[in-house]
């Protein structure tokens, strides 16, 4: 899931300076789970905007915001309202906001900051475990990602900085390499660790990327 966080409201107001009539879009999937762009949050945003003297012309929870065809179909139904709006405030991730921006002729502003691809540990608790590096390493790291969970993305083992199994960069995080080592050892696969890993092929992560599934 793509994890988002609401931008400070002051930043949103800056975007919307001089814009009176605002249409709000949300997203039925990630942003709803992150509580940053479901119907509930949209209605709360509407309230805050009204308090600032704005008009909210309408809203739509896109299903989901990153699906271009779906978003187009939903927004088409709102064409008249959209034409009378000065701006769209998009309460989705950065992808969802760009999808919307590509479909309309009004300026689109993000209400959220997009944080990372993450896991829902429990309601309201999200953690990052994959950085979409383009060539997954999990096969030799006992299912623990060193690219994401090691603060330095090291490939050949830990730096000298871990203490009591915690990461030097943020002692609230486990040192990914101590975790990998322990797990590989449990699985009797420490020889995986001993293999020299050459620097990663970063051409696989050179953006923007595109995937086409063949027929």
């Amino acid at each position: 899931m793509v994890i988002t966080q609401p931008k400070p409201f002051s930043e949103i107001l800056q975007f919307l300076e001089g814009k009176k009539n605002i249409f709000i879009t949300g997203c039925s999937l990630c942003a709803t789970s992150c509580m940053t762009g479901g119907e509930k949050e949209i209605l709360a945003m509407e309230q805050k905007l009204l308090e600032e003297g704005k008009q909210v012309t309408g809203y739509a929870v896109l299903d989901p915001s990153c699906n271009k065809l779906q978003a187009r179909a939903t927004l088409k139904k709102q064409k008249q309202v959209l034409d009378s709006s000065d701006a769209i405030l998009c309460m989705a991730c950065g992808d969802g906001a760009q999808t919307v921006a590509g479909l309309v002729n009004v300026p689109v502003y993000p209400a959220n900051d997009t944080m990372f691809i993450g896991e829902v540990e429990r309601i309201g608790h999200f953690s990052e475990a994959c950085r979409a590096c383009g060539q997954c390493e999990l096969g030799w790291t006992a299912g623990i990602c060193p690219i994401t969970r090691c603060a330095k993305s090291l490939l050949n083992g830990p730096c000298g900085g871990s203490r009591n199994g915690k990461c030097e960069v943020n002692p609230e995080n486990d040192c990914a390499w101590v975790l990998i080592y322990k797990r590989l050892k449990e699985l009797n696969e420490l020889d995986q660790f001993m293999e020299i890993k050459s620097p990663k092929d970063y051409s696989k992560a050179s953006n923007p990327r595109r995937v086409t599934v063949g027929k």
């Binding site: 090291l154 050949n156 083992g157 830990p158 900085g161 199994g165 001993m194 020299i196």
Partner: protein, 294 residues
């Protein structure tokens, strides 16, 4: 005799470490370096240590060569991708720098420009790997070089680490890709160091044990609390607390440690990190029972 010859012929090597200045004034850097000339086998130049902006290790190492000292150029993967690391190594060789110490590097969040993006495209193992590739006449992508560098490669190791086996496995990887000598994190407890040497077993590499002359009990407490891999025993902190001249006592403690490792033949040399008090290094070396390095 250079560092390589000294170590590879079984001698006891002495190195010390200096940070390039923050700014363009190399006066103190040169003074401190010249003061240890003839007393040490090589001088490490740190690479933006603690992620702090300074003159670069390449520049400072070249200045040491000019002054007739042998540098160990430290290089980390924090600030450079593979293109920059290869270029830096080639330049180093052309400037007469023979020793390279590969490190991962501290995270930018610890430094004085914490907004910086950490690169970390290559870890210490990768840097050694690429240095060796260059020594074979090719760049990392397999392209030919006009002129081939020749380095004596080193790396670091932390003798007080839990789990120790993990530290030793990584050390083996570094050796596998060309590390010949290791400078360790500072050690204060000789028994812990012995444990590490025993745990090393038949790992074949030259070990220069790290020594930090303590300046005060506060410094020791701070390091115990904040620096991973450092453990200063209570007796030492107590000795510092009781002494009249704490700096001198710190040098004495360091000298005793050095003489002890030397006498017991625990390792192949020492690496002194004076962290800001480089002017004390000659006095420390005079207190030790060492052959002159020259």
């Amino acid at each position: 005799m250079g560092l390589k010859q000294k170590l590879e012929s079984g001698g006891f090597a002495v190195t010390t470490e200096m940070a390039p200045p923050k700014g363009t004034d190399f006066k103190r850097f040169k003074e401190c370096a010249l003061a240890v000339k003839g007393m040490v086998d090589a001088v490490n130049v740190t690479d933006f240590q603690s992620a702090v902006v300074r003159a670069s290790s390449l520049g400072a190492a070249a200045i040491l060569v000019e002054e007739g000292l042998e540098p160990v150029m430290q290089i980390t993967g924090r600030d450079r991708n593979r293109i920059a690391i290869q270029g830096e190594l080639l330049s180093a060789s052309a400037l007469g720098i023979k020793n390279v110490l590969a490190l991962t590097g501290d995270h930018p969040s610890f430094g004085d420009n914490p907004q910086a993006k950490g690169v970390f495209e290559m870890d210490s193992v990768n840097i050694l790997q690429v240095a060796r590739t260059l020594m074979g006449g090719k760049d990392l992508a397999g392209n030919d070089l006009a002129g081939t560098p020749d380095f004596y490669l080193g790396a670091s190791v932390t003798p007080v680490y839990d789990p120790m086996e993990l530290q030793l496995l990584k050390m083996k990887k570094k050796i596998q890709v060309g590390a010949r000598f290791f400078q360790t994190q500072a050690v204060f407890d000789i028994e812990l160091f012995k444990k590490f040497i025993t745990a090393m077993g038949d790992i074949d590499a030259k070990i220069l044990v790290g020594v930090i002359p303590l300046k005060s009990p506060g410094m020791a407490n701070y390091m115990n609390k904040n620096v991973p891999g450092i453990f200063v025993p209570d007796e030492i902190i107590e000795r510092l607390r009781k002494s009249q001249d704490r700096v001198k006592e710190g040098l004495k403690i360091a000298a005793e440690f050095i003489n002890e490792v030397r006498q017991q033949k625990l390792c192949d040399g020492i690496h002194i990190m004076a962290i800001g008090a480089e002017e004390n290094v000659p006095a420390l070396l005079e207190m030790c029972d060492l052959d002159s390095a020259a």
